[in-house]
């Protein structure tokens, strides 16, 4: 039953992805490998759509992934399963949480968790870049797409320098991709 599977997987992501939308990417990538729902390349397309569409990126990615897996119903299941753990957590422990999150124990836990989340996003990014900047089906130096790497470098510099809306950079990327026939 695909809806139950979706519920289970996205509930798990909602429970264990701490630190916002980007923290869900390693989970979504792992899902791409384990499940036949979408490929790694499709995941990158979904991230693009999520960055370019209004709303929190984490929600958008869950909706897109659910849609890819099981259509409209799937998108509702994945999105609400993602939100549910935090909702339960907030409604049940909200009263104690204010005291709780200032405790040294929690501060220490997050002190260790944050760099690990950063590392996991970096590892996922590496895989995404492998799929994007290298031609599939070629080996060694032939596999490197120099055009894509130069575009990546230029866009990265632009993103760091001008904090414009993400859709601007995606548009520049798409337009250049069309011009250079990437």
């Amino acid at each position: 039953m695909i809806y139950l599977q979706l519920f289970y997987e996205f509930f798990k992501i909602g429970l264990f992805a701490i630190g916002g939308g980007m923290a869900t990417i390693p989970f979504l990538y792992a899902l791409a490998e384990r499940m036949p729902w979408y490929t790694a390349q499709e995941l990158v397309n979904m991230i693009a759509i999520s960055e370019a569409t209004p709303g929190p990126t984490g929600i958008n990615m869950a909706t897109a992934a659910g849609f890819a897996a099981a259509g409209i119903t799937g998108s509702f299941v994945s999105t609400f399963s993602l939100v549910l753990p935090a909702f339960i957590c907030i409604v049940m422990v909200s009263r104690y949480l204010t005291k709780f999150y200032k405790s040294r124990r929690i501060q220490k836990a997050f002190y260790c968790l944050r760099p690990v989340v950063t590392a996991q996003i970096a590892a996922a990014l590496l895989l995404v870049m492998q799929a994007t900047l290298l031609y599939s089906g070629k080996n060694g130096w032939n596999a490197i797409s120099y055009k894509a790497i130069i575009l990546y470098g230029a866009l990265f510099v632009l993103v760091r320098k001008y904090k414009l809306h993400p859709v601007v950079y995606l548009f520049i990327g798409g337009f250049t991709g069309w011009l250079l026939a990437l």
């Binding site: 264990f16 992805a17 916002g20 939308g21 980007m22 390693p26 989970f27 390349q41 397309n45 759509i49 960055e51 569409t53 209004p54 709303g55 929190p56 990126t57 929600i59 849609f67 998108s75 939100v83 935090a86 909702f87 957590c89 907030i90 409604v91 909200s94 949480l97 204010t98 999150y101 040294r104 124990r105 929690i106 836990a109 002190y111 260790c112 968790l113 944050r114 760099p115 690990v116 950063t118 590392a119 970096a122 990014l125 590496l126 994007t132 575009l151 990546y152 866009l155 990265f156 950079y169 995606l170 548009f171 990327g173 798409g174 337009f175 991709g177 069309w178 250079l180 026939a181 990437l182």
Partner: protein, 180 residues
């Protein structure tokens, strides 16, 4: 008393006009603190910090917290639905339209370029995250080790999250107590 409809409407607007992540806070500040006076500035900062430590999506958690504070469970439900439904509808619309448009040679070139853009955007977030999370030798070592583990063995992210949380909350906090 804030009506449920109003809670829904305000968060639906925020859900639709914010793009998540770090752009959320100024938006919430303007709408909920300055314009509506639902909570005070300091309280918003506290709730936002709490939302970051709660599993899940930060923007959604902030909405759930504020909704719960104002109208208990029904408020939490309505605020959460408010921030979730508009993006959900937008993505569905885009996905349905895109499924047809994304075929052919030209689309392939454009999409490859867009994916390169995604790599640049994630890299940008990564630099910000690195600056915020790697503060000293220990966090540096943790980050490098976790990266190697995640790249070579690729365990489920669940284990890495649980392990690092326990390492900090139990081992590190425990060691500090002994030293005191």
């Amino acid at each position: 008393m804030i009506s449920l409809w109003q809670l829904f409407y305000v968060f639906a607007r925020i859900g639709f006009f914010s793009f998540g992540g770090l752009t959320m806070l100024p938006f919430l500040q303007r709408e909920i603190v300055d314009k509506l006076h639902w909570i005070e500035g300091q309280e918003l900062l506290d709730l936002y910090a709490l939302a970051q430590c709660t599993p899940g999506i930060i923007a959604v958690n902030t909405a759930t917290y504020i909704g719960y504070k104002k109208r208990k469970i029904s408020g939490a439900c309505v605020a959460t639905l408010g921030i979730v439904l508009p993006p959900l509808a937008a993505i569905l619309l885009v996905s349905i339209l895109f499924a047809q448009a994304l075929q052919g040679e030209t689309a392939h070139h454009i999409l490859t370029g867009v994916r390169v853009g995604v790599c640049a955007l994630i890299s940008n977030t990564l630099v910000d995250l690195w600056k915020k999370s790697v503060k000293d030798k220990l966090t540096f070592a943790l980050c490098i080790c976790a990266f190697i583990v995640a790249t070579v063995w690729r365990p489920s992210p669940v284990y890495m999250t649980v392990f690092s949380t326990l390492l900090g909350g139990v081992v590190l906090a425990g060691m500090e107590k002994e030293n005191l």
